[in-house]
Chain length 113, copies 2
């Protein structure tokens, strides 16, 4: 029966491996998860395309039709994911797209495949 061993070796393929390790997969999944909500997609887009390049949280409630605490919660997730920056000026928080964030993310997506 031992003569089947060489055949088994020949037909064995190279084990499949991901092009990313677990740490990188976790990092990317966190960013994608932040974008995995329609409200956050709209907020990111609204901030990024605002005429001044930044938007006050006070102007971000109307476009998505949600309360300010809810909008602030969604914005925090986008900031924590490294997609937006937040700066406090007086009473209000202002949000802007982190420079290079989308370039990095599209590059990371391409590197996956």
């Amino acid at each position: 029966m031992t003569d089947t061993l060489p055949l088994a070796t020949e037909t064995c393929c190279t084990p499949l491996r991901a092009a990313v390790d677990a740490t990188e997969a976790q990092r990317l999944a966190r960013i994608f998860k932040a974008l995995g909500d329609p409200t956050r997609v709209m907020l990111l887009s609204t901030v990024a395309t605002s005429p001044d390049g930044e938007a006050c949280v006070c102007d971000l409630t109307a476009p998505v039709g949600l309360s300010q605490p809810t909008v602030s919660h969604h914005l925090k997730i986008l900031v924590d994911a490294g997609l937006l920056t937040r700066s406090q000026r007086g009473r209000w928080s202002y949000y802007a797209l982190l420079p290079g964030a989308i370039d990095h993310l599209t590059g990371d997506l391409r590197a996956l495949v």
Copy 2:
């Protein structure tokens, strides 16, 4: 008091709007949510970079260290999101990257901002 009206009009900014509508935001969020899990990021990458361009579910359990039912569940989410294709051959399902899926997604990301 009516003389304050023109001033109010001048200082009013154009209301902010997202560069995507709600339907498009929902479509994109569904794809991002599918990628918002480290196991699915690794599965997508493993399938996409497999030597044959497709991978049997039977070869995808080892790279992520999970049971076949769990792996099949994750793969179904990636298929439903339009990232992978699935074909049944005999006993096994084979998965491949949907051609153009990553190009479309990176394009959609850029269009957001």
